[in-house]
């Protein structure tokens, strides 16, 4: 019902003359072609612009094309050329029957088993253990079962003639006879024809070289392998696991060693170390290192250079105590040198380790004396305690407990150290942490740590020695 109708009913004059009414909205024209996957109304809203992508809705099954002509299936006779007879079977074929060869006939591939004549047999195949009839029987079976030896042996049921001995043949007997005959026939035919073998023939000839004894031995081995008891299998698995573990650890050892050698070689790669073997050479090297050390420190860290004492203390105590790489390297070299030199019986290398280690020690001494010199300016040496004076490289602002400054070790190491301290009857917390007590306490901790490390190394070496001696014992008992 429109407003015009209501006006009409109520006898109201129509508001606007019909002629001046706006024409109905024109339908927006769309392109002639139908759009996929989008409603027409929605598409119209897009106006002139065609959308860059159309939303494809998954449709149901495609409408079948009813207009297409159905292709008929025909119940057709066919002959299979793979058959010896002309049996005709029927199958369904689409479209008109064709006269093509049966498509599956091509899969009928017999194995090539040679045949031989009576003369050929007498000439080269005669054997006391075999008659010509039995050989023939064997070849027939091989042909029938396409050289599937397991089946050939299973079906082998030769009935000897009266004058023949009964034949009991193993699989190896059969194989040996067959391949022997094949090779002999090949030889005979080559000689008869006079032509040389092609490479393929030669390959075949060599492939048919059957070694019966080896085959029997292989089978015996296999049988033994398959009849192992569960205990033996478990033992074997355990050994394999152990072997893997050893392999892994020896790989790690080699890696460690390589790392070590690399470190040892890093200071002098170009020059030989022969020049440092004399005492003069050594002191010269020490001087060089110290000089380069100083240079570097001056360049790299100016304030560190001003406080030489810190470095000096760091070097002999904690190997990783923030010392520059130059100082650390020989330090570790000494530690690792214990097993490094032991494992590598190369005199050159161990000499290098010593050559590198010596300057480190002398350098530490030098550094110590430098500090001492500075101290000597103020109080006579050895009397600092007397006067209650101590010197600090750097003072921390504010108040702190001295005991908080005791260095802590790695958590795993710390627990071990703590347990040893407990064994020694020393409380883990210092009752009276004076400077001296703290120092001693720290030294003790370091010493324990060092001992633990050493013990670990010793255990490891012990184990290795044991493994290699037991290995030797096994080899000896095997030999």
């Amino acid at each position: 019902m429109s407003s015009a109708d209501i006006r009409d009913m109520l006898d109201l004059p129509s508001q606007v003359p019909a002629a001046s009414r706006p024409p109905p909205a024109k339908r927006i024209k769309t392109d002639g072609k139908k759009l996929d996957g989008i409603h027409r109304e929605l598409h119209n809203l897009l106006g002139e612009n065609t959308p860059p992508v159309t939303v494809m809705q998954s449709k149901f099954k495609e409408k079948p094309n009813w207009m297409q002509k159905p292709s008929p299936w025909v119940w057709t006779k066919f002959k299979n050329p793979a058959r010896g007879d002309d049996l005709e079977l029927y199958h369904w074929v689409r479209g008109a029957p064709s006269n093509d060869e049966y498509p599956f006939a091509k899969f009928n591939k017999p194995v090539d088993v040679p045949t031989f004549s009576k003369e050929e047999y007498d000439k080269c195949l005669a054997d006391t253990a075999w008659t010509s009839r039995e050989t023939e029987y064997l070849f027939d079976l091989c042909r029938e079962y396409d050289l599937r030896w397991l089946v050939v042996q299973d079906r082998y049921d030769y009935e000897p003639e009266e004058n023949e001995p009964p034949s009991i043949r193993t699989l190896e007997d059969l194989k040996e006879r067959y391949y022997f005959c094949c090779r002999k026939l090949m030889e005979l035919r080559r000689d008869a024809s006079g032509a040389d073998w092609t490479p393929r023939d030669l390959e075949l000839y060599n492939a048919m070289n059957f070694n019966k004894d080896k085959e029997i031995m292989r089978k015996q081995y296999l049988e033994r392998l398959l009849s192992r008891s569960p205990a033996e299998i478990a033992e074997e698995e355990r050994l394999i696991l152990e072997y893997r573990r050893l392999q892994e650890s020896s790989k790690k050892l080699v890696q460690d060693r390589e790392e070590l050698l690399r470190l040892l070689e890093s200071p002098q790669t170009a020059n030989t170390f022969a020049q440092y073997q004399s005492p003069q050479g050594l002191s010269q090297l020490a001087g060089n290192i110290l000089a380069s050390d100083k240079n570097r420190r001056r360049k790299g860290a100016p304030e560190a250079a001003a406080q030489g004492g810190q470095v000096a203390r760091a070097v002999p105590g904690t190997p990783n105590g923030g010392a520059p790489p130059q100082a650390v390297t020989p330090q570790q070299a000494v530690q690792n040198g214990v097993h490094g030199t032991k494992q590598t019986p190369q005199p050159g290398r161990s000499a290098a380790a010593q050559a590198a280690a010596t300057p480190a020690v002398s350098k530490a001494e030098l550094a110590q004396s430098v500090t001492n010199k500075k101290v000597a300016k103020r109080v006579p040496p050895g009397q600092e305690n007397l006067y209650g004076i101590s010197y600090h490289d750097k003072l921390v602002q504010g108040v702190y407990l001295r005991s908080t400054k005791i260095s802590t070790l790695k958590p795993t190491v710390q627990t071990k150290v703590a347990s040893i301290l407990a064994e020694l009857g020393i409380a883990p917390k210092l009752a009276m942490p004076t400077a001296k007590v703290c120092d001693r306490y720290e030294a003790l901790q370091q010493a324990i740590n060092l001992l633990i490390e050493t013990k670990k190394q010793v255990d490891k070496l012990d184990h290795e020695v044991k493994v290699s001696t037991s290995g030797n014992a096994v080899q000896e008992s095997d030999a």
């Binding site: 058959r83 010896g84 079977l89 199958h91 689409r94 899969f107 397991l150």
Partner: protein, 414 residues
């Protein structure tokens, strides 16, 4: 579309062949290319005077004087006339087809004697009038049904349990073993058990009405009376109850039977057709144990041959009779089929015992999960075989049979 489409990858080419798998308890028939047999009929016939009855309906109708007999013995056909009647019934009355129009594939056990094989060919061409025929080994077909050309097929059916090694689709006859310790043997043990418990088996057809009773209480059922029923008919009907019991209640322990362990397992109730019901505990397991240890569990008042072997021993013997090169491959491809292998726990038990017997080899047992694939494996494999394009060169043609005679089967069906 003028030419035939290229053969698909699976190489099928249907020639509308028929496949029959005659088992000791069921004969299965259907068209090649289908995945289950369309027709499954009991391999039994009823004989009353001159009249012969075959098919479910006739066999189960109580008739005075009707004897129920089996045409099979030791898994092989022994009564050919009756077998042909059963096959003819299955094909014409149930499949509504004529053997004359279709090539026919029949399965046979691996130990089928030569004369029976020749008889089968004769029957097919002369009595059924088929255009082409093939006699396939049931075990080979079962292996094909599981997609394996090389396998150790363990088939535990009703009358026979057999183990057959197969290499490239060919049976190793010298390493094939079979025994009677299968489904029917369990039935004998079950009926001995019920007898010892004084439980009378009243077959379904005799029950007119029954009332529910409490566990272990005497049954309250009204029975129908029949005159002149033969003992073999009653036995056949009682066997149905025993089969029901086996399928719903029986099981196999994972280890050699041990009363303590068997008693720990939850008991299961079983209700007999007359309403009598009882919980069965250890008895569920002790009756299946003869499959594995025939000597230790003989039937009452009888002894078992000292050489008798349980199923695991059969498998072990078969594997060890094969060449050492084939063994690892065989035990890695064990195919377990046959209705009795559906017993709860059977596969696990075999697996455990084989792992003990061959600790050095990797055992893998493939047992189809679907029960019809287990019971009909032989038929399904035959169905696959008879619809392969490459197989059609193997059929024995009618003309060939006429020229060569029945011995053609030895040459063709290896």
């Amino acid at each position: 579309m003028a030419n035939a489409p290229a053969p698909a990858v699976y190489g099928g080419d249907e020639i509308s062949a028929l496949v029959i798998d005659p088992g000791s308890s069921w004969t299965r028939a259907g068209f090649a290319g289908e995945d289950t047999p369309k027709v499954v009929v009991p391999t039994f016939y009823g004989k009353s005077g001159d009249r012969i009855y075959v098919g479910d309906n006739d066999l189960h109708s109580p008739r005075p004087g009707m004897e129920i007999l089996s045409p099979m013995s030791d898994g092989c056909v022994s009564d050919w006339d009756m077998t042909v009647k059963i096959w003819d019934y299955a094909l014409s009355k149930r499949l509504y087809t004529e053997a004359k129009e279709h090539p026919l594939l029949i399965t046979e056990p691996s130990w089928n004697p030569a004369k029976d094989r020749e008889k089968a060919v004769e029957v097919a061409f002369e009595e059924l009038g088929v255009p082409a025929f093939y006699l396939a080994k049931e075990a080979v077909c079962s292996a094909f049904a599981c997609g394996k050309p090389t396998a150790l097929v363990v088939d535990v059916g009703s009358a026979v349990a057999s183990v057959t090694p197969i290499i490239d689709g060919l049976v190793l006859k010298k390493a094939t073993f079979h025994s009677e310790f299968a489904g029917d043997y369990i039935n004998s043990h079950l009926s001995a058990l019920f007898k010892s418990k004084n439980i009378t088996l009243t077959p379904h057809f005799m029950i007119a009405r029954k009332m529910p009773v409490e566990i272990g209480q005497p049954p309250q059922a009204t029975l129908k009376t029949f005159d002149g029923l033969t003992e073999s008919f009653l036995e056949f009907q009682r066997a149905r109850i025993l089969n029901e019991f086996k399928e719903s209640t029986s099981g196999v322990l994972e280890q050699p039977y041990n009363e303590v362990i068997a008693n720990i397992r939850p008991a299961r109730p079983f209700e007999f057709p007359d309403g009598y019901n009882l919980n069965f505990g250890a008895d569920r397991y002790v009756t299946t144990e003869p499959l594995f240890q025939p000597q230790a569990y003989p039937l009452p008042d009888s002894t078992v041959d000292a050489n008798a072997q349980g199923i695991t021993e059969l498998i072990t013997a078969s594997v060890n009779a094969c060449d050492v090169d084939a063994r690892a491959n065989l035990v890695n491809n064990i195919v377990l089929i046959g209705g009795t292998s559906l017993l709860q726990g059977f596969t696990e038990r075999i697996n455990i015992e084989l792992n003990q017997a061959f600790p050095g080899m990797k055992i893998r047992i493939q047992a189809p999960g679907n029960s019809s694939e287990r019971k009909y494996a032989g038929w399904i494999g035959g169905s696959i075989l008879a619809s392969l394009g490459t197989f059609h060169q193997m059929w024995i043609g009618k003309k060939e049979f006429e020229e060569v005679g029945p011995t053609v089967v030895e040459k063709r069906c290896k």
